[in-house]
Symmetry: C2
Subunit: 341 residues, 2 copies
Amino acid sequence: MPPVNLKRLAQELNLSIASVSRALQDSHEVSSQTKERVRALATALNYQPHAYASSLRRNLSKTIGVVIPKVANHFFALAINGIEEVARQSGFQVLISLTHDDYAREVSIIQHMKGGRVDGLLMSVASGTEDFAHIKSLRESNIPIVFFDRVCAEVSTAKVTTNDYESAFQATEHLIQAGCRRIAHLLISNNLSIGQFRQQGYRDALLAHGCDVDPTLILHGVMDNEQNVALIRDLLLRRPDIDGVFASVERLAISTYRVCKELGRTIPDDIKVIGFSNLEAASMLDPPLSTVTQPAYDIGREAAKILLRALEKKKAILPSQSQVLKSELFQRQSTAAAPAR
Amino acid sequence: MPPVNLKRLAQELNLSIASVSRALQDSHEVSSQTKERVRALATALNYQPHAYASSLRRNLSKTIGVVIPKVANHFFALAINGIEEVARQSGFQVLISLTHDDYAREVSIIQHMKGGRVDGLLMSVASGTEDFAHIKSLRESNIPIVFFDRVCAEVSTAKVTTNDYESAFQATEHLIQAGCRRIAHLLISNNLSIGQFRQQGYRDALLAHGCDVDPTLILHGVMDNEQNVALIRDLLLRRPDIDGVFASVERLAISTYRVCKELGRTIPDDIKVIGFSNLEAASMLDPPLSTVTQPAYDIGREAAKILLRALEKKKAILPSQSQVLKSELFQRQSTAAAPAR
């Protein structure tokens, strides 16, 4: 077999050496169809240009993958918009894959993404994920990754998050200042650092204000919303002294609204509710929902910027490029204090 | 150049002919790395097996693409869940790409998807799309497509839609029966058949009940929600006689709520509102929003079933496999008739 060089690629494809070279450099002078043929053959024959083997390989697809739990959540919908804005400016395509918060699906998606479909990944980890070997394996495949929101602490790369501990502390403090004494905390996952930070903020705010931390007031939600409604109903019936609810995810706040309506518990008079949420309609709910709102668009944008800079400059991503953005607390009627008597 | 056959592929790749053959048949006896090299070379050299060229090519990636306008819309979030349920059962991966209702982005995504990334496509057309050559070009690439919700009338394939004309007729009739006489219709796109069907249903319901069709009451929304709020504000200020709003998409109904709140117009006393929506929180809005709710999950599931059946049986998709599912009208307080005096 002759050696695999530009000349051989050109012969096999019946193209000029110059065209093959231009195609491999992604020149606009070459049709995308020709580029595809050249790249495919280069991959198939394991063509290695002198120094830039891995970086060229990286630049083959001009595609980034986004692996997230779900899209029926305004946080992720907005984060995707931020990601796509940055990707579009750099001429990158975005392919989105959903884990549905399921570990097995996440593993399968990562395997699939490794198959040369993407140059790099932006990822928010599934709440069901407890083992991170599949994510670590990306390094061997030379696929850089930036985490956003739900990060994997064990993988050394850049992470774009929000100040979850402080936000949860503030939300809980806000309920206490509005007069709540028995505050339930609803969360989804305990595995990820994000859930731990939020729960710790809740606990510390209670302690800072001289309230006990009662573990029976901490409810672990599940994937299915109907089941969550049943769990919250049980909690509120078993503990009629609950006068505040801090939901760590949007859909648990909405489920709490459903249960309160069903049980005839008035928000905010009987129970005050605050939740992490990017729901555009939060201010139009009955009553308007107080929220901790993450800068979702900016999170997506910053994460994409870090990844694309690394891909374009062929440089490694450093943990020191991590960013922590600030969430904002919006006080609305769902946490209004009773008027002074 | 020797002919491109199994033997030549085997020689070039330094593999046995049997391994190449197994790799092309996606056998589990061959490593995924080897499969990729074989497939890439087969593509690069335009290798054509005897009879099954296109169907074999189709079965290479076990991936379907979903091309939709956006995810910040509960209809699409639910439809994706239906699609993924079916895909998972068949062992297919799902890659999602968003057009943001932009024609140029849609063209670029289709080009990208044609590059061997997917075996077939499920698609809901961007509202900005007026030319369909990019979609028609999928046929030449042997990538089958099934449309759902927003279909392209000019492309002959299966389509899964809902009874948009009847639903729009019913929604408008519902407003008339609740006492409305000046009903505005808010829509996004005029290009797609879905928008035309809904507008026709609105017009015909007005005529059937002896009301005039006033074109100045038909508002064409845009992509940006803030701009839509301004447009709706202008409309309601210019036409204080408007007593009903029929929004053909969810976000225009939400924008109408915002404007009514801002202008101090009470829903349903001053203006009644109904909209197409899959918003889970519709019943928790202030007031609860009457909706036309599409069976989004089922739409996604049925569209995916048609596509996967075609891929697995290597058969063409026929327009006769199209399905029309029924939407449901939920009457809530936003369209409540004034109590009889």
